[in-house]
């Protein structure tokens, strides 16, 4: 059975085989991974029959406070009653939905529809806010469209110069490194910007190691040098962009020595970087979480987009700017209505035309659709408060581990009247729930995923879920059906719009069928930015996936964007001046060290899955705090000794790991673990004003011996 890996946005092609109930994996030649798989992919089937797998709904026993197995009937009744009670007492917006970037397109779409049509709440958002939302916002602002990579991944191998900003694919998506290897073998130059000497930075020809939180100053200085050295593509700037003058004047104030003092990156290295980008025939700039997870993440990405535009890269074949999306369906998950302000097809929920179109597809009056909600952290932070929702349904996310200032979020979740979590393992968030619904895994369901290139892929079911388990779509369909039968009294009988093209609401069976849901998604996205109208499962099967936008059944798809025009009204890309500003929390006498978070190869996101896989647990058994040996010496800490990391918001504890590859003024920890080793206990919940992205990548801490 040909399918794709369940984990990251690279979505490596793989083949699943079933023998005597045991499922094994073989890598598949696919244009992205070209036969490569990391150990996360190799070991993914282990969770299908894991002893901790949930195979029955769980209900919290009010008497003992414990979660106990229950029937689906009982669980769904409890949810329906709970939701109705909350909405009757506190209004429709008192129920919220929290999704995930790992859900299939069908599920992400169904979740948004469920929130807007079945619950009629404005409160839906998802963990993608914690992922690439800053790059998405910057891309929309500059290009009028946000597709992580506006070109196929294979372009990386043919670039002359490749700049990775805050990206560590050697750990986060190892098979992508095959393209870096090809790039090197062709004589290309790799430059990495990262405060740590990561596995990726070690492969670079040039590594810039800035102080965390100073990437934007580096970007502006690179453009300053591009201007003074004559690398700016004047024709391109004149014919394909607007707004350069304001950017030129802003970066005039970012002479390299100024950025050097702020970032610690030597001027000579800045100059070499600008030269390598500015003189290359093909150059690509990629950002990832290191640049994006800041309270100035959108502006930081914009700084690098400005640089790319000034050099004339976007839309030039073989060159460009892109974002390395993180989660498995981080791309598709942000296109079809999981976001607080969005409707399917990357439409804006406050756009009247968009509302009318989607309402027609959904068979509801447009004025019944709720307005925009609030971004993820704001939503989580309001839960259980007087102004916030009192009931929450979580699908495919574990915010107790993955949200910033996690102890506070955990408290908010505990304050809810009703917390429902759908998952196939008892995640830290599920453990707090009133109702836990056991869901199917990737090898047990059909659907589509959209990878980091904007290539829509097919996920295929190898076998049905085990007894007692339902798919997310089945759960949403069942809840929708029950909620329809329990319409609150204040809700007027729905009048079907006369111009409706949809024949009423789908039946429960239809709503649970991913193929039917995808057909509706295609209609809902038609005419939108992320137009899937011409994409069918058959068409995906016939090719190695289909790149959106693809509006027509028999028309071409779009592997390369922006070659002629950008997706703005006038077809021109937008420069936008951006200024460096300090982190939301800078170091001080009490908290003298910068703290930054990230990932390790053998774990994925909040670790709910990968921490339970034996081989991965052996490879990365526990959290750690990476310290420079000089800092460790000053703290009196030796390698392996437990240390406490404290911020104004909380603390966590993990063994010290000494490494000369980190700056002596900065400490790092991976965020994959919960409990006492939860790195997000200390992270800052300051968010970007545009994207709502929390500042995971920098806060001020103190480190002590435990």
């Amino acid at each position: 059975m040909a399918t794709h890996c369940p984990y990251c946005a690279l979505q490596c092609g793989m083949v699943l085989r079933e023998e005597d109930d045991a499922v094994s994996v073989l890598p598949r030649q696919f244009p992205t991974n070209r036969g490569g798989l990391c150990q996360k992919g190799w070991t993914a089937p282990e969770l299908l029959s894991h002893p901790e797998r949930l195979t029955s709904p769980l209900l919290r026993d009010p008497a003992t406070g414990e979660l106990r197995p229950a029937t689906w009937e009982a669980a769904l009744d409890r949810i329906t009653t709970g939701l109705r009670d909350v909405q009757e007492q506190h209004g429709r917006d008192a129920v919220a939905v929290f999704g995930g970037g790992g859900l299939t397109n069908e599920k992400a779409y169904a979740l948004g529809r469920f929130a807007r049509v079945a619950l009629r709440t404005r409160h839906i958002d998802y963990n993608g806010r914690f992922c690439m939302s800053s790059a998405a916002a910057a891309g929309m602002r500059a290009f009028g469209m946000d597709r992580g990579l506006p070109f196929p991944l294979s372009d990386l191998g043919r670039a002359d110069t490749l700049l990775l900003v805050g990206a560590n694919p050697a750990e986060t998506m190892p098979p992508l490194v095959r393209w870096l290897t090809e790039h090197r073998e062709r004589g290309g130059k790799l430059i990495v910007i990262d405060p740590r000497v990561t596995a990726t930075a070690r492969q670079a020809d040039l590594h810039l190691q800035p102080l965390p939180g100073t990437d934007l100053a580096v970007a502006n200085a690179l453009l300053h040098i591009a201007l003074t050295e004559g690398y700016v593509d004047g024709d391109y700037v004149a014919t394909r962009t607007t707004g350069f003058t304001a950017v030129r004047r802003t970066v005039a104030g970012w002479w390299p020595a100024r950025a050097e003092a702020l970032s610690g990156v030597p001027v000579a290295d800045l100059e070499e970087t600008a030269r390598a980008l500015g003189t290359a025939a093909r150059a690509i700039i990629l950002t990832a979480r290191g640049a994006e997870q800041h309270a100035k993440g959108v502006d930081t990405v914009t700084g690098f987009v400005n640089l790319a535009l000034a050099l004339g890269l976007p839309g030039r074949p073989g060159s460009g700017y892109g974002c390395l999306t993180g989660q498995g369906n981080g791309q598709g998950g942000r296109e079809h209505g999981q976001k607080a302000d969005q409707l399917p097809g990357y439409r804006k929920i406050d756009d009247l035309e968009a509302r009318a179109h989607v309402a027609r597809v959904w068979g509801v009056p447009a004025d019944e659709l709720p307005g925009p909600g609030v971004p993820a952290y704001q939503l989580l932070d309001s839960l259980g408060t007087d102004q916030g929702p009192r009931a929450l349904l979580v699908f495919g996310s574990n915010p107790v581990v993955s949200a910033p200032r996690a102890a506070r979020v955990e408290g908010r979740l505990r304050d809810l009247d009703l917390l429902v979590v759908a998952d196939f393992l008892l995640s830290e968030t599920a453990a707090l729930a009133d109702v836990v619904l056991p869901t199917a895994q990737w090898a047990e369901e059909d659907g589509t995923m959209t990878n980091l290139e904007g290539r829509v892929l097919r996920r295929r079911a190898l076998r049905p879920p085990p007894a007692g388990v339902r798919t997310d779509l089945e759960i949403l369909a069942a809840l929708s059906a029950r909620l329809r039968g329990s319409t609150p009294a204040d809700r007027p009988a729905r009048e079907r719009p006369t111009d409706s093209t949809a024949d009423g609401q789908p039946s429960e069976a239809e709503a649970a069928d991913p193929c039917v849901v995808f057909a509706e998604l295609r209609r809902a996205s038609a005419g939108g930015i992320a137009d899937y109208a011409g994409i069918s499962w058959d068409r995906i099967d016939a090719a190695d996936g289909v790149f959106w936008p693809c509006p027509d059944d028999d028309g071409p798809d779009s592997p390369r964007l922006f070659t002629e025009r950008f997706a703005t009204a006038d077809g021109l890309a937008r420069f936008r001046p951006v200024e460096h500003r300090p982190a939301a929390e800078e170091v001080c006498a009490d908290y003298p060290l910068h703290f930054t978070t990230g990932r390790v190869l053998a774990q994925y996101q909040s670790g709910t899955q990968t921490r339970r896989v034996a081989a991965l647990r052996r490879a990365a058994p526990e959290a750690f705090v990476e310290l420079h040996p000089d800092l460790a010496e000053r703290l009196g800490v030796t390698d392996g000794e437990p240390v406490r990391v404290l911020s104004r918001r909380g603390e966590f504890q993990a063994p010290a790991r000494l490494s000369p590859g980190i700056r002596a003024d900065t400490v790092f920890a991976p965020f994959h673990w919960g409990g006492p080793a939860r790195a997000n206990s200390v992270t800052n919940d300051a968010v970007d004003p545009v994207s709502g992205m929390p500042e995971f990548k920098i806060c001020a801490v103190r480190v002590e011996r435990a």
Binding site: L176, R248, R249, P266, A268, L601
Partner: protein, 481 residues
């Protein structure tokens, strides 16, 4: 001044004046800010003028972002003729009177014209030009187009920047400096001498330890006579003999002035309704003459005038002098030639690399770095932030990675410990590969299929092949002993 000032007038639209206007604009939306700039140009980055001299960029490239528009009235080409403190007004040379609740003086400084026969500061010869303003730059460029030789009087930072810029245009440039070594305020003799060597390679000749005695200039050229009896001829002479704070307005208004306009930690002059920042201000006995302190001062003034932070105070920070241009890389901070603590030196005259650092109390007290010093960014940050220096001092000379135990791949598989991870993506150790081979896998493909080594990023394929090759050449019985 801790109160809210509604009408703020800024005299000067240079690096300091434009900055304070921007800082005020960012903080106080209801402020009415008037900026009066004597130069007719929009605000520009003075630091980029030497790049403008090279011809690589045009005038529009040195323009700075403006905050003109809502709440900010920017008037260029307007000279302030007087401050009327009694009525709270400034008078302009076009007869206008502009009332202020708070006045910020950012009048900058003027180029010093040395007292030499042949140089009348009010009527400089056509081919003798100071290097200070955009207009100066235009005049230099107008002559440089047809010039072959240029002289620069003054071997400080500004003079060397001008010299380098002209040399890059292909001119034959000579620098005349009174002190025995270049940039004597920042460097020591050894660094100064090495810098002279670096400049020579870029086409700049230096004449040190020599006084100019007279300037003879006419329409055809300029001749500089020297105390050692020589005279140097050129098509133009650039004066880079330092700057003097422009305090005329403040003096005439009766404010306390020494070398600069005296200011306290709030940047207040002797009149609390008037602040002074940048080159024209003298704080704690010190004139700054650099952008970084001027911008720090602009921020403090904005915080105070808008009432955003009544506790804001200007705290001078140690300054870093940086000269970075094609072929020259120089950073100087503090005075490393004396004082307590350890001294760290490195010199490679053949490559023009020099480093002299002073460490006191585990902090970097001073440094001169010339040439290719990969540690320069780290050194500047350590100095600026006062963070502890690396335990292994060599990291200060050679870059951050020095002294660390970065694991290098073993030269031969035989030397690699069994526990060493060969494949990171799939966590496969050398021992696992050996076991696999002993279990019967005899080819790279077979070992890869059994262990998954090399199936992730693929980077270790060569290492895996090397181990298999080594195993196949070694007696199986020996393996693993």
């Amino acid at each position: 001044m801790t109160g809210h000032s509604e009408r703020v007038v800024v005299v000067g639209n240079g690096m300091a004046g434009a900055r304070v206007a921007a800082e005020l604009h960012a903080r106080g939306e209801d402020l009415k800010v008037t900026v009066l700039g004597a130069e007719p140009h929009p605000a520009y980055n003075r630091i980029m003028l030497s790049t403008l001299l090279t011809g690589k960029i045009g005038e529009s490239d040195v323009e700075l972002a403006e905050v003109a528009g809502r709440g900010v009235d920017l008037r260029t080409g307007v000279t302030v003729s007087a401050i009327d403190r009694a009525t709270g007004q400034v008078r302009t040379d076009d007869g206008d009177r502009i009332p202020y609740d708070h006045l910020v003086l950012a009048t900058g400084s003027r180029a010093v014209v040395p007292a030499l026969p042949g140089l009348d500061p009010e009527h400089l010869p056509e081919r003798v030009i100071p290097f200070r303003t955009l207009d100066d730059c235009r005049r230099i460029l107008a002559l440089a187009g047809t010039a072959r030789r240029a002289l620069v009087l003054g071997g400080g930072l500004l003079g060397l920047e001008a010299a380098r810029g002209l040399a890059l245009r292909g001119l034959d440039v000579g620098v005349v400096h009174r002190v025995p070594y270049l940039m004597d305020r920042q460097l020591d003799p050894a660094a100064g001498a090495m810098l002279a060597g670096t400049l020579a390679a870029l086409g700049v000749t230096t004449h040190v330890a020599v006084e100019p005695t007279a300037v003879r200039a006419d329409a055809a050229g300029v001749r500089l006579e020297l105390s050692d009896g020589r005279s140097l001829e050129a098509d133009l002479l650039v004066l880079a003999c330092g700057v003097r704070p422009d305090t005329a307005l403040a003096t005439a208004a009766g404010l306390a002035v020494e070398r600069g306009v005296l200011v306290d930690d709030r940047l207040r002059t002797s009149d609390r309704r008037i602040s002074a920042i940048g080159d024209c201000a003298q704080h704690d006995g010190t004139l700054t003459g650099l952008v970084a302190p001027a911008w720090a001062q602009a921020r403090v003034v904005a915080q105070l005038v808008t009432g955003q932070d009544p506790q804001a105070r200007y705290r001078p920070r140690p300054v870093v002098t940086r000269l970075k241009a094609a072929g020259i890389d120089l950073a100087a901070m503090g005075d490393p030639t004396g004082g307590p603590g350890e001294e760290l030196t490195f010199a490679d005259p053949a490559r023009g690399t020099y480093a002299r650092l002073r460490i006191h109390d585990e902090r970097l007290a001073a440094a001169i770095l010339l040439g290719d010093n990969p540690s320069v960014g780290t050194v500047i940050q350590l100095f600026d932030r006062g963070h502890p220096v690396p335990t292994d001092r060599r990291a200060l000379l050679l870059g951050r990675a020095v002294g660390g135990a970065v694991a290098a791949p073993a030269a031969s598989p035989a030397l690699m410990p069994d526990a060493a991870t060969v494949c990171q993506c799939n966590t496969v150790s050398k021992g696992a590969l050996v076991r696999c081979w002993r279990d019967g896998a005899r080819t790279v493909d077979a070992v890869v299929a059994a262990t998954r080594a090399g199936t992730g990023c693929g980077s270790c394929r060569d290492a895996v092949a090397g181990i298999v090759d080594w195993l196949s050449r070694t007696d199986p019985v020996e393996v693993g002993r």
